[in-house]
């Protein structure tokens, strides 16, 4: 279980994450929604050690995430796909994928993982030798997620996978995330501004505003709460 307790992160004078507490059950998907600047990305970046927390705690099972340097987080089964189709444009598609499993060394299962990832995103398989800079936006996002999956994570932290993508591509990627989670028992924390898409595949949801949790509950309940929609989700 992912257990976050009173987690607080400051960017200089700005409190980006303000005493946030929530749990994520193993195998479930929790959507973290809210407007731009609500602290969603900062929350994930704190969990993976890219930014330092000011107080509070975050545990994945027995592992104290806040004590780990970023490079070690993935070794404890936690993979973070940061915002903005985070592929390395100078590397080929295949190199981006291989990068995700480098830390696993000569583990013979790496090839198994790779074929699983390519089954999930067949478009990447057709473009293995191409430079990642030649990919479309949707393909880049698939590659970023694929690289994270190459680590064979137990917990996947996804930051705005829908950002800047066409609706049909968003649907496709969310569908893949959903089926994969159900098939593998992967735990997912999905940060999204696109609340409709995120709530459709999440079990639980929390709504962030100015770093604080303003609502939380079943994804269905959050999705049907009119006042919440108007106040924080803007639709």
């Amino acid at each position: 279980m992912l257990r976050i307790d009173s987690l607080t992160t400051d960017h200089g004078q700005v409190r980006a994450v303000d005493h946030v507490s929530f749990d994520v059950e193993v195998g479930s998907c929790t959507a973290v929604i809210g407007a731009n600047g609500a602290g969603k990305s900062s929350l994930l970046r704190t969990l993976s050690g890219l930014v330092k927390s000011s107080s509070g705690s975050a545990h994945w099972g027995d592992v104290d995430l806040l004590k780990l340097p970023t490079s070690e987080v993935v070794r404890h089964g936690v993979a973070h796909v940061p915002e903005g189709r985070s592929v390395i444009a100078e590397l080929s598609v295949e190199e981006n994928l291989n990068l995700g499993a480098l830390w696993r060394g000569k583990d013979p299962d790496v090839t198994v993982t790779k074929s699983e990832v390519l089954d999930l995103f067949p478009r990447l398989g057709e473009r293995l030798k191409q430079g990642a800079d030649s990919l479309s936006g949707g393909e880049r996002q698939m590659l970023a997620i694929g690289r994270a999956l190459m680590a064979r994570p137990k917990l996947l932290l996804l930051d705005e996978p829908s950002l800047g993508l066409a609706p049909i591509v968003i649907e496709q990627i969310f569908h893949t995330i959903d089926t994969m989670r159900k098939a593998t028992g992967l735990t997912v924390v999905l940060v999204e501004q696109n609340a409709v898409s995120a709530l459709a595949i999440a079990n639980h949801a929390i709504v962030l505003a100015l770093g604080k949790i303003v609502a939380s509950g079943e994804a269905k309940a959050i999705a049907s709460d009119e006042s919440l929609r108007h106040a924080y989700l803007g639709y």
Partner: protein, 298 residues
């Protein structure tokens, strides 16, 4: 043999050495975003160590191998002991960009001071395993010695080894990933600090080899490799500072160019020419003659 051809042949071995120095500077630049001025000091200290080994054992091969190893170890130590703490403390303000560069300048002075203390300032002739006299082909002498051939071969071997490591191994992939996107690399599990130290180490080894290769044709003194640093940096900038192949080609181009200048204008113009080339590239084509325009987003 035509003068032009023989001039170009002369440029080949110099160019190979400039390429090595350029690659050393590029390795550090890519991993740390620092222009390592201390590279000249590291190379000169490595070369003196080689000289000392040669004096003690009489073996040129042991000297050259230990120079390279010493250069590698020294480069790694500099990253661990100087660059790493500096980057940790400097944070992300403007001082973070300036502090390491100033530190490498200071380190250059320290290294040259150390060399001066132990070996004095006099010019020393460094031995070479092969004759530095021109080979003769079909009765006519060409300005290319057995040692030049060794220089080109050794440089080429190092470049091929580096290119194999970078393109074909996991270590190389993690080095490239860490250079292009440290954040993504770390999230993928790359220990970027360790990878950077290895980069400094490779750079130090390449610099050490460059020092050993250039000194038989010049002289060894505490600051005798400063010019090599300038030429190496010019070659790196011509090659676009980001790519190993760019640096290698930049080094060869500069070697040919300076050989032509030396032949047709005289030795007093070579240094100035390198600076003019450096300035011209920085002003007109800062991405390098070989680098892609806008190929890299910063």
């Amino acid at each position: 043999m035509s003068t032009l051809l023989s001039t170009l042949i002369t440029g080949l071995s110099l160019g190979a050495i400039y390429s090595l120095m350029a690659i050393a500077l590029i390795l550090v630049w890519r991993s740390t975003r620092v222009v390592n001025f201390a590279q000249a000091g590291q190379a000169v200290l490595s070369t003196y160590i080689g000289l000392e080994i040669h004096r003690m054992t009489g073996s040129y091969w042991l000297a050259i191998v230990l120079s390279i190893i010493f250069g590698g170890v020294l480069g790694g130590l500099i990253d661990l002991a100087l660059v790493r703490p500096l980057l940790r403390r400097a944070g992300s303000g403007p001082e973070a960009a300036v502090a390491p560069v100033i530190a490498t300048l200071g380190l250059l002075a320290v290294l040259q001071g150390v060399v001066g203390m132990f070996w004095g300032g006099e010019l020393i002739k460094f031995p070479s395993a092969f004759s530095t006299a021109g080979l003769s082909i079909g009765g006519s002498k060409i300005p290319f010695s057995a040692f030049d051939l060794f220089t080109v071969g050794a440089s080429l071997a190092v470049m091929l080894a580096f290119s194999f490591i970078f393109q074909r191994t996991g270590l190389g992939l993690s080095m490239r990933a860490a250079a292009f996107s440290p954040e993504v690399a770390q999230l993928a599990g790359v220990r970027t600090g360790r990878v950077r130290t290895i980069g400094w180490s490779f750079a130090g080894a390449a610099g050490g080899l460059a020092g050993v290769l250039i000194t038989p044709t010049t002289f060894l003194a505490p600051n005798s490799l400063d010019l090599l640093l300038v030429f190496g940096f010019t070659a790196a900038v011509v090659g676009g500072l980001e790519s190993m192949i760019g640096g290698a080609l930049g080094g060869l181009a500069l070697g040919f160019g300076l050989a032509l200048v030396l032949q047709y204008a005289g030795s007093s113009y070579t240094f100035m020419t390198a600076f003019v080339v450096l300035l011209a590239v920085l002003l007109l084509r800062p991405q390098g003659l070989i680098g892609k325009r806008g190929g890299r987003r910063v």
